[in-house]
Amino acid sequence: MSRTVLARDPLDAIGDVADGATVMIGGFGPAGQPVDLVEALLEQGATGLVVVSNNAGNGEDPLARLIRDGRVARMVCSFPRQVDSWHFDAAYRSGAVELELVPQGNLAERIRAAGAGIGAFYTPTGYGTPLAEGKEHRRIDGVDHVLEYPIHADLALVRADRADGAGNLVYRKTARNFGPVMAAAARRTVAQVREVVPTGALDPEAVVTPGIYVDAVVEVAAPLPARTTEARA
């Protein structure tokens, strides 16, 4: 059932990624970050990427190194600044990376809108703030709203706990975060999971991401540490 592919390894799973592609990367800080898939993206070599992710890398994790290596032209995120986001900070200050700062709820809802076929929506979030400057707005039932558009992607990289052969995913605790909405918003979705179980082994009532949203799954029983520090010397 389904056409979800079980990949041999993360590099096989991500496949061809074109220069200039828009890539969504799940996770909220380290929780739910598909570290091995982003490491594979580093290895794969695509450049000029637009990355949609809540944060912009921690320490020497693979997303931070994508930025360090000049592979990211633009970040769309809500909270790039972290105590250890030195690579993003430097790239932002030098102008090497462009930033679209999006309130986190708008980020989540715009990604959800892309997956759900919504053309645009009105939200009160951000009205009257610098982040809504230049955006259309209208008053609805006495409340000022801003018009926000969906965020689509070419590729979504997400991390879940388990997948079955149909590509259904279940997550673990707050590592669920952006995975389900990103999986639905991208033309192609790749999931890194702790374990692949036989089709039929997941409770259909508890499936969070139905397999229709998942193109490839790769089992990574022992993921890279979330804040990988690259060996130096």
Partner: protein, 224 residues
């Protein structure tokens, strides 16, 4: 897309039965597709999907991985399809709420949606929810979402009404379900592609291209 009609030459020399139309639709559905089947004739398509085809059925009332009707003893009132008919659950199934289910449809994730129709226009407009009779109780259900949401929307219908009027028309006279949403029409007399460039004959059954043009009063293109 696999065109299995070459394997069934009989079909080309006579109009298709409803079962044959359903089989013809099924033959065009790529292995591994996610498919939504409308109520009525489209439901029959499920019977013609090869077991190994890996096609997954979506029902817009909240399920992927829908299986066939249960044995009468195993009917579960909590497990029905969009026509409120009891169905079953296949391994790998999942349940979701109505907004998530329609998000799946409206977000372009369903590969093929098969619908019935009262009329389809040469440019792919669809009329399938209202006969426009004054005083009739209207009902639309998911028809409008299904029509415009799927990656590919196809229609199964007889080419003529019971009183012989064409259902494939220059312009729909009945209330529309969607504009330019239909790609292909499977009928007893022909398979036709419809779209911005008008209708084109893909295949005929017991009739000819010229006869179809006369019957429909339309100029029809040819697929090369």
């Amino acid at each position: 897309m696999t065109h299995l009609h070459d394997a069934r030459p009989a079909a080309a020399t006579a109009p298709l039965s409803k079962t044959q139309i359903a089989a013809r639709v099924a033959a065009d559905i790529a292995p591994g597709s996610y498919v939504n089947l409308g109520i009525g004739l489209p439901t029959l398509v499920a019977d013609h999907l090869a077991p190994g085809s890996g096609v997954t059925l979506h029902t817009e009332n909240g399920m992927l991985g829908m299986g066939p009707a249960p044995d009468p003893d195993d009917v579960d009132p909590d497990l029905v399809n969009a026509g409120k008919i009891p169905v079953t659950e296949l391994p790998g199934a999942s349940y979701f709420h109505q907004a998530d289910s329609f998000a799946m449809m409206r977000g372009g994730h369903i590969d093929v949606c098969v619908l019935g129709a009262f009329q389809v226009s040469a440019t792919g407009d669809l009329a399938n929810w209202s006969t426009g009779e004054p005083g009739a109780v209207p009902a639309v259900g998911g028809a409008m979402d299904l029509a415009v949401g799927a990656r590919r929307t196809v229609v199964t219908m007889t080419l003529l009404t019971k009183d012989g009027s064409p259902k494939l028309v220059e312009r729909c006279t009945l209330p529309l379900t969607g504009v330019g949403c239909v790609s292909r029409v499977y009928t007893d007399l022909a398979v036709l592609d419809v779209g911005p460039d008008g209708a084109r004959v893909v295949e005929t059954f017991g009739t000819t291209h010229d006869e179809l043009e006369t019957l429909l009063g339309l100029t029809l293109g040819r697929t090369s």
